[in-house]
Amino acid sequence: MTYQLKMRVWRGDDSGGSLQDFAVEVSEGEVVLDAIHRLQATQAGDLAVRWNCKAGKCGSCSAEVNGKPRLMCMTRLSDFDPAETITVTPMRTFPVIRDLVTDVSFNYEKARELPGVELGPRDADGKRRMMQVDVERGQEFRKCIECFLCQNTCHVVRDHEENKPAFAGPRFFLRYAELDMHPLDTHDRRALAQDAAGIGMCNITKCCTEVCPENIKITDNAIIPMKERVADRKFDPLVWLGAKIGIRHKDDEGRTEM
């Protein structure tokens, strides 16, 4: 079954643009990215769109469909009424390059600010060992495909351009949490997470979790645990007192603060 899908697609660049109306023939089982590709092939040959795997694994085709941050390749047309007009715009947090393509280099700058893993010395046989249960803990965070939909939807930077220098964003709090939970890493990133990454700016309204196409529980499993770790260090008088009188949390041994 085919039908004419009514679409409104934002077209323009950093000097301006507008939503333009199109009608595109689509078939049963197709996704928004298919419709955009057909639009490009038949009516708007110069429509700029970033895409790659068409399978929800590369994180390239991030956009906003009817105002919701989505991967276009994972947004089924069957979820919409055939009579409905579907509006597709670029992500609204990052500078637009052209049409649906945005400049996401903000995220790469933030990635560079985050110190990588620093492993301790090897075991006597030259190997490093982690128990399975400790390996499993970080697996959820490794599912991130860096589509940056969480960074795009986070109101801290979406609604406040001026916060961008001071705020790393949910994707990188995920990374902070992963490394801080890593049993072999020798960095203590708690102060850095609060100061340089600005985790205190997050007010845990959970939009990052809502839009994550990999269903990573960013808020519950990464941001809140990281906030609690910062609270351990900065806002917990018992921990402070323990450090003063020489009782240290043994689990933190061998770590140096960044």
Partner: protein, 260 residues
Amino acid sequence: MAATGVDAPGRAAIGARTLRTDRWWLSPLTTFVVFSAFVVYATWRAFADKDYFVEPYLSPFYSPCLGDCVKGSADFGTPFGGFPLSAALIILIFPLGFRMSCYYYRKAYYRAFWLSPPACAVAEPHTKYTGETRLPLILNNLHRWFWYAAVVVALILTWDVLLSFQEADGGHVGLGTLVLLTNVVLIWLYTLSCHSCRHAVGGRLRHFSKHPVRYRMWTWVSRLNTRHSLYAWLSLFSVAIADLYIMLLANGTISEARFF
């Protein structure tokens, strides 16, 4: 909206605050109405200073009763007997602080009351935002201290339930007993599913493998934690219903349905 957010220079010039077509306002509106109703009811009841005790039930708003309490309601003495206002005001700071700094309630009130943001990808009306980096919101980092207090409160409410099975002439089970029992189960589920609890029992560890018992406890709390918001709502209703039932009994509007 100042030109700093979605209208900032360089971003796609779309103009609209949001292009969402679904009823995104329904959830924050519901939260606003229900929480506001609870705040109004709880404030009225906390200041009322009457109809909170009817043998053997004590309203959770007034438990433990440490002020100038009606006869029979003070199970832990009256160290604040000279407190001039309602006895509820002495102890409500603890459950109030626990819920105000709760990670779920924070999400709920930031969205529904402060519109920061009202819903995902809907621009907030504020021109400036500092999150939880300054007073007073930085105090939300003290959540764990309120959690410790909440555990004590839950223990006391459990004691109240045990007392509600007794009367001067022996055992007793009334509708009030079941109401208090349901309430305390939901209060415990809410308290134990707390994110700070999850952190304290095992989340703070870097080596699960070296702490198998704490790891196991962490997995249990993690399972409860996925439904923290549900327990937050249910226990909010149950505590209000428990208080309402006891108030209606105490002021004689209804009489107890006694099972045995």
